[in-house]
Amino acid sequence: MSLPLADLTLAQAGDSVRRRDVSSVALTEATLDRAEAVQPALNCFLRIDREAALQAADHADTEIAGGNWRGPLHGVPLAHKDVFDREGHVATAGTILFETPATSRATVMERFDEAGAIYTGALNLDEFAAGGTGANDHYGRTHNPWNTDHISGGSSGGSAACVAARAAFGALGGDAGGSVRIPAAMCGIVGLKPTFGRVSRAGTAPRTFSVDCTGPMTRTAEDCALMLQAIAGHDPRDTTCPDVLVPDYAAALRTDLKGVRIGVAVGSPFDQVEPEIGQRLTDASDAFRDLGAELIELEVPDVMRFNDLQQILGKTEAAVICGKWMRERPGDMTFAAISVVQEGLLMPATRYLEAKSLRGPLLDSHIREIYGQVDVLFAPALAGPTPTIAETDFGDQDRVEELFTRSARFTRFTNYLGTPSLSVPCGFSASGLPVGFQLHGPPFGEARLLAAAHAYQSVTDHHTRAPALS
């Protein structure tokens, strides 16, 4: 094995375990050692389950040796945002309010377990997943592995930092407005917000009811496809999770894009990026053209309105979810968590229902207008270089929210529509921090996003670079 084990991609690691070139125990030990080594600098883990992980890895090795290989995740160590129930553990959601250990397992955890993946621990996040910087006053902030003076992004900041730092081969995050895609872009990894309902949320601590999506965060699109394959599909435990065919995502990956039409989003808000980000985006779109794709500049109507409607749903529902705690234990919640949901208390039921009623017709017109012309929509993931911690640590939560919103205006609209979006790394800013773009698609069109991203990664090497952590 020429690469250090932790530097393998998820696909390579899984294949090595299948071929028994490396044992799951060795792979898991290497990953746990890496996690423990980077934890003091990054604070990406809330809990590392070394003993249980090694036991599971030993079991995986026994199964594989006995001819019972379960699939590409068998024996591969993963860690996840701390919002998923596992028996005997408290899924903290980044708060100190939850004290009762779970008595059942989230569907996504069950599916990874059935796939033979190894669970190594719970990852840090903004309190109640209600933030975009990776800050958490209860458990400490997550730091960006490319430069620990910079934020990781959030709310799935622990997941993004962990994967970028090679402390797990993949991680799950949660995305209600950009919480997978923005930290993925800031930490230089791939992050998928699937179609609403593509992945079950049963047993997952909610940030909202209508716009939450659980999605994989990995170093490559291929790895993302393998993780999504394991967890996508109907779940009777989640009434919002429909019985829609799950394609073979890995089989749909491609290395050329001949015949593919990619819409390049232009106009407001997509033109509101800083020049160095704009240059990276131009480089990326050029790469897509070189891969054979036809690029078509496209105005995307109503994005800012969709963003606002996402806020109506998100803030109202979050105010309900956090309502008991805000009233009964406000001292145990930070202002950062409370401040972003308080507006929901001033939104009448009529506005909330209007936002929900509009969702179907607006989705229908958006899909027919955009995806009647192109297969995939290319757009920014970040408005500017990833801020330093100092730049977001000025005690004014509304200004922090405003800073986050600079990039969230590129992400929230697909949470409202419920369509899939993939964040893909595309280089680095002058300060050495990663930059990313997004690929958007129609409902349940994850395969075409992953295919385009895989083709892009087949001719670029941004995803192969590792942060210089000790």
Partner: protein
Amino acid sequence: MRSHTDNVGQLAIHLEDGIETMSEIDGDAISAWLKEHQDLDVTPERAKEIATIAFRLNRVTLDAAMAQDSLDDPARYFRTLVELADYKRDA
């Protein structure tokens, strides 16, 4: 001292009109309404801030709703999502 009725009335006006400029919002009234109807202690300054954001979002939503001929059962969204599954440009 503003009466409770005045507070509620003022908030109702804000909610109806979607006043967007912070200077026009009475933080005391919003704070009192939140205490009365949401059992929540929020300072007038903070109440003014959150009302500024909430009222703008309310206005955007109302305008979007009024631009439709009619609004349907929100649950139909899920059917639309499935019907548009992997929508093809040549479909």
